[in-house]
Symmetry: C2
Subunit: 416 residues, 2 copies
Amino acid sequence: MIGRTRDPNKAEVGDVRATNLAVVLRCVREQGPCSRADIAAATGLNKTTVSSLVSELLRRRLLRETGTTENRVGRPAIMLALDGASSAAIGIEVNADYLTAVAVDLAGRPVLSWRRAFPGNTVSPARTVTAVTALIRRVVTRIEHDGRQVLGLGVALPGLVDPDGRARLVPSLNWRNVDFAAELVDALRGPGFPVEIGNDANYAVLAEHRFGEHAGTRDLVYLTGGTSLGAGLLVDGSLRRGHSGYSGEAGHIPVPAPGGTAPLETVASITAIARRVLPDDTRDDEHLSLAEIELRIDEIVARARAGDPTTLTRLHDAAKDLATGIFTLVSVLDPARVILGGYYAELAPWLLPVVNDLLDTRGIPADEPIAVASTLSLDAPALGAAARVLDAVEQGRLPDNTTPARALAAAARAPR
Amino acid sequence: MIGRTRDPNKAEVGDVRATNLAVVLRCVREQGPCSRADIAAATGLNKTTVSSLVSELLRRRLLRETGTTENRVGRPAIMLALDGASSAAIGIEVNADYLTAVAVDLAGRPVLSWRRAFPGNTVSPARTVTAVTALIRRVVTRIEHDGRQVLGLGVALPGLVDPDGRARLVPSLNWRNVDFAAELVDALRGPGFPVEIGNDANYAVLAEHRFGEHAGTRDLVYLTGGTSLGAGLLVDGSLRRGHSGYSGEAGHIPVPAPGGTAPLETVASITAIARRVLPDDTRDDEHLSLAEIELRIDEIVARARAGDPTTLTRLHDAAKDLATGIFTLVSVLDPARVILGGYYAELAPWLLPVVNDLLDTRGIPADEPIAVASTLSLDAPALGAAARVLDAVEQGRLPDNTTPARALAAAARAPR
């Protein structure tokens, strides 16, 4: 249920206060600790309004007072900061081999990070819903035990997800038209917080925008480096899902191949690179598990570090194909950075120079290399799902304090 | 000087009234004629505020009262509409063969449309500035003679334009690093209205968004079909220029070619199609003028209509290459429509079926054909430059009534 960004031009009565609360929240995140007067100066809201908004945010435990400062002319001012201890956003990633759960506080600091093996590609969607529900309940219980309110939940899937949270097509899970959002909300028996389902690449680029080395950069492309090859697109500071929600199908980009072209994913996805560089491996059926990919990537890295010429040549060839695909993305989108995620990051020392050389040779203007490696490791999709929750809070979707957050935990314990 | 969209989340004191004026203006454009009460209901602004805003817009001659209506319960209400007679936005296109000037009123209705031959590819930038300045002065004189205020001016160039209006690279004009915005403003001796310089494809997609058959569609790609091949990208309702302002380099997309790949522009630009389909033509130097292209396109259309098999086969081959490039754009961006502009529109009966078939075959989901032909003919870039001016007004950049619009005309008449 990743919705489109609301039209900021549409003024609606009920929105004004929520918008102003969000403006104050963002101001404190970006500039805090700061005083009420600082907020008034930075936002242009008058001081009375700011005081009222701050009171509400304190009551909702989204802000806290951190004491006074003497470092200024006039009376000491009470300083405000985000209240990191009162709440958390949850992000989950479901894929063919494991489930990941992360939680972060309102300031983006990590609260927990769990990973458990799960054969997503061999079990039914219903069993996946059951497993994800159980994981979410354990996360919620832990969070509430720490006295935190759950701000919301995002779940990343490695495939096409409709705006209403239906999984249209998830090849690595063998899913087609699974109404995952509805089934999950039903299994959670009405959680007291918002639930969103989204594409892993889309969430990952949001994670980079908030937590990554290039956080705050407004034009980013994130390439997933797992069992599939997809792109998350951040354009002018916002996630762009396209008209139907299917943007970023980078794996379909044609690149040169013997006798014509091939889709980028067949020659330069992580799976394809693993096969190309270690072709004498005994296994060659179509689907490699992430565990198998990980073993191969480790082996490739070891051989490349040892200077094995065959490995280096094959890596170079694969990197050239990846570079051609990235050149296409850069020509169309002109991002500030293309971030290689997942297992691409492990191979970055051999991939990045080839990619950046090709971009440079073909005349793409750049002060610094455009292609970079992700620093968020495999947590990016789950972190991005949590980042999406924080984004929503900062855009005015404040948590509803009238619904006790522990209702869910109670429901989880109740017999059904 | 196409600037980035202002961050709508940034509340600034001085902005609030301008923003609200713009909200009212957009409301009347979308829903007018309508009453003050209708505006209050639609925008959520209170009636006193709406009355004050409407008074200012009437005083600025952006709105007008159109009489009363009896078609409702209660007192007759005074209806408001955009004042189409009081102002106009100017759009200019400079290219290798001609200059185009259009003007539209605040409601988007055409005020004038002129085209004159101009050898942009053989004269110096300075001479182009002189010619464009003379054209603008004639347009301004005409507009002011009708009692209209100039809302602003946009100038479309067929190349890379920096955000500050400098033409970085315009191959068909042989320009490199020409500070066109500064030179034009200087030659106009300080016009009393805003001046922007932009890329022709970017402006053209704005024209489609406001005036085209698919106006209002929030995700559009426009392909230029002139001497070059570029794309204008509208994503989530806004023009997206990329990090450096160079997005939409669709001509660089690799497509299959004998022995590997070729950039899309070398096989499927209008120039390339003209050469491929009429290869026995005597002329074959690198640059075809638009006049030469036009003759060839007419000949191709005549032969295709007559069912000439060679022409049809060659058109089909070119269409397949174009289709591969469009498939790449659609995979990355997922637009609602890809609009074939310029001379592509003339060849649409032969290009579109091939393109839409390939998108369909490769599994792009679509209720209606994605590739369509532009209905704006060759005026799209100039119309889009004018549309950009209207967009800016509706985003709060209201004309400054304290600067008499005829100051420019006076300056034009003054000796220098």
